[in-house]
């Protein structure tokens, strides 16, 4: 059932005296969360297909500390960061790609002043590059006739001003791309950020993910595209809450591409 993925670790590469071009930072969600693991696998399939020279840290990877920082625990964050930086620097990592906008933001913006300076790319940006260079292609028939709406993750969009890469990738699918009334810089949060993923929301009239899913459902999509494992969970729950799961799928952009690759 599970086809074999080629996933070299940094340690293995080092033992062979090799240095990968890119480190794939899997992130905690991508490593442990059942739904997010599928995104990780989809992305690796693409990397394998495009012959990207990459490696992961594997069991040496640890939490970036991002969620601790947003929750206010600067100690824990910096402990994680300094530990990770030591490891990354020991492996002489130059370039990092990740499927998680929170890790992306943290590694890109908050690690440098602690001594971790890397070129950090979000996987939608990387996919955009691979497509541009013609290193991947996919079956354009797969999405003919579907409607896709993209939910901007706060930490990719507003936090780092990346609105185009995911849209450019989606524009290649041959599907109809529809925008929600709140999109790009005015996109509504999925409700998971700032540590909310790990706690019950404060008292209110409804949950944020339900409201955000309403925004998405108003566009009558067949697929809600995401670029963040947490957004994916929140939107999936929102779709279930609206009892639309038979009609609307929530898929990461990596999955959308991988699914059409007949892999």
């Amino acid at each position: 059932m599970s086809e074999n993925l080629i996933v070299p670790t940094m340690a293995e590469m080092m033992a062979e005296g090799k240095q990968p071009e890119i480190l794939f930072w899997v992130g905690s969600a991508g490593s442990y969360d059942d739904r997010a693991k599928k995104i990780t696998r989809a992305f690796v399939k693409i990397l394998n297909k495009a012959n990207v020279n990459f490696a992961v840290l594997g069991t040496e990877e640890s939490c970036t500390g991002d969620v601790a920082k947003r929750a206010g625990n600067e100690f824990l964050f910096q402990m994680q960061a300094l530990m990770n930086i030591e490891l990354l620097n020991a492996y002489e990592v130059k370039k990092i790609v990740t499927c998680d906008p929170h890790s992306f933001n943290c590694l890109k913006n908050e690690y440098p002043s602690l001594g971790g300076k890397y070129e950090v790319i979000h996987h939608t940006q990387f996919l955009q590059q691979l497509l541009k260079e013609g290193r991947i292609d996919f079956n354009k028939e797969t999405y003919k006739g579907s409607r896709i709406t993209f939910h901007d993750p706060c930490y990719l969009g507003r936090a780092n001003q990346e609105y185009e890469a995911p849209r450019e990738v989606l524009s290649q699918t041959n599907a109809e791309i529809v925008e929600m009334k709140r999109s790009k810089s005015t996109a509504l949060c999925c409700g998971a950020g700032g540590g909310q993923m790990f706690k019950e929301p404060e008292k209110g009239d409804m949950d944020i993910n339900v409201l955000r899913t309403q925004d998405a459902l108003e566009t009558k999509p067949s697929i809600i595209a995401t670029g963040c494992p947490y957004c994916n969970t929140m939107m999936t729950d929102g779709v279930k809450f609206s009892e639309k799961e038979s009609k609307v799928k929530v898929l990461d952009i990596a999955e959308i591409i991988a699914n059409a690759q007949d892999l």
Binding site: L5, T59, S62, E74, E110, N160, T186, L188, M206, D207
Partner: protein, 442 residues
């Protein structure tokens, strides 16, 4: 005796400006109660921000109706200042419309002031209707009761009065300029596209009565402006001044980038260094141990305090906040209003105690802002993106969370569990680090 009005004018002007300067000094003193933060880098980007956002109103127009009306009032305000300059010179030296030597240019200026004054009235009336009749939601949140609500309306009334006085003054002036055989020093000067329509109401009136009306309107107009100037300090309308420094000193980093506390870096490095001697005396035994995060206004940095004074209470932040939209208690606008209110309270305390703050048993945290509000934030930056004057309510929320977590260990239980997991397993979930690569074979 004929100098009496000039002297009286000079005294009023002196008092009006003097009181304003006194308040500005207090304002600066209060802002400086904040922690230091360096915002002197990259001055070209900062000037550009100020030009685009404060002067060019680039973020205002994201909501086109309010944005357009606001630009009318704003341009009216800026342009009318040229008129005020003339009024001051006339008042001090007893001249009449000194700038009229500019001839055609002057006619053009006065003409455009009048048209703008009329447009300002139209805009202000629309604003009033939006607030009080259409009741646009963001103006009717719980934090907008009492003073904040009245403050907004007062200024609207004030503007109508000031503009009406201005037009009335011009109308009377126009009338007197055209009295057959001339009247006093009212020589012909200026062009009056709007007020000449009002002028006929003076037809048949005694010239000296019209003169009285002109003088009264003139005095009330300039006194009104001085009152307005001094009202600013007590009002959200302070933004007409502070929007400029506020956009200049605003954060230039990506919104997602939170600062790394240096005090923490030092401690963490010590903890992680196997060679560090845990019993070594700290370098400076008198050093006050750094407080982590913020529980009161003095713990915030001065830019955050400047933000609080600049907030226009427009509620754009709150109307885009996902927590607020779903009925949670958090309102980023309230965070800013609370910060300003507390800062004012601290300032008054300092004034009352001869220049030193005496503990009043209160703090920004709990007395103004509750942990429930703070924990509802998703750190999504929607508020920061929306704010027309580049305020970051989020930065204050994060500082206060830091205090709750690092000084008080008062995070919600689930977050504590999450953090313990990170500490023990290197992941927010309770899974072994050895299982990190399991996805590979599933």
């Amino acid at each position: 005796m004929s100098f009496l009005p000039n002297i009286l004018f000079a005294i009023i002007l002196f008092l009006g400006i003097g009181f304003f300067v006194k308040n500005v000094k207090k304002l600066i003193r209060n802002i400086k109660l904040g922690q230091d933060i360096d915002r002197t880098d990259n001055s070209s980007a900062r000037w550009k921000n100020m030009a685009m956002i404060a002067l060019g109103q680039s973020k205002m127009v994201k909501r086109p109706v309010a944005g357009f009306l606001h630009i009318l009032v704003y341009v009216g305000f800026v342009i009318i200042n040229i008129e005020v300059l003339e009024i001051i010179i006339d008042g001090l030296f007893g001249t009449h419309r000194v700038f009229s030597v500019l001839g055609g240019v002057y006619n053009f200026l006065i003409g455009s002031f009048e048209i703008l004054a009329l447009l300002v009235v139209v805009a202000v009336v629309t604003f009033w209707i939006r607030r009080n009749i259409i009741k646009i939601q963001r103006f009717w949140k719980p934090e907008m009761k009492g003073w904040p609500k009245n403050d907004a309306n007062y200024i609207l009334y004030f503007e109508v009065v000031l503009m009406s006085l201005f037009l009335l003054m011009n109308a009377a002036d126009f009338h007197l300029q055209h009295v057959a055989g001339g009247f006093g020093h009212y020589h012909e000067a200026g062009s009056f596209p709007v007020s000449q329509i009002i002028a006929p109401i003076f037809d048949g009136m005694d010239n000296s009565a019209v003169f009285m009306i002109e003088r009264a309107a003139w005095w009330l107009h300039i006194c009104g402006i001085l009152v307005f100037l001094n009202y600013l300090y007590y009002s959200k309308h302070l933004h007409i001044l502070l929007a400029f420094p506020n956009t200049y000193f605003a954060n230039l980093n990506p919104y997602g980038q939170f600062d790394n506390l240096e005090s923490v870096t030092n401690e963490v490095k010590m903890m992680m260094d196997p060679n560090a001697d845990p019993f070594a005396a700290p370098a400076d035994p008198d050093a006050v141990p750094a407080k982590f995060g913020a529980s009161d206004v003095q713990d915030l940095n001065w830019v955050q305090l400047l933000n609080a004074y600049t907030c226009t209470e427009c509620g754009r932040c709150t109307s885009s906040c996902p927590a607020n939209l779903t009925g949670k208690k958090l309102s980023p606008r309230k965070i800013m209003m609370d910060t300003r209110d507390r800062l004012e309270e601290v300032g008054k305390n300092i004034d009352a105690n001869g220049g030193k703050f005496v503990d009043d048993g209160k703090s920004l945290l709990n007395d103004y802002i509750t942990p429930e509000e703070l924990w509802a934030c998703t750190t999504c930056n929607a508020c920061v993106e929306e704010c027309p004057v580049n305020i970051s309510p989020l930065s204050i929320i994060v500082e206060m969370r830091r205090y709750l977590v690092m000084e008080q260990s008062a995070a919600p239980m689930e977050l504590n569990n999450m953090m313990t997991n990170i500490e023990n397993n290197g992941a927010p979930w309770p899974y072994s680090q050895m299982d990190r690569l399991n996805w590979k074979n599933e």
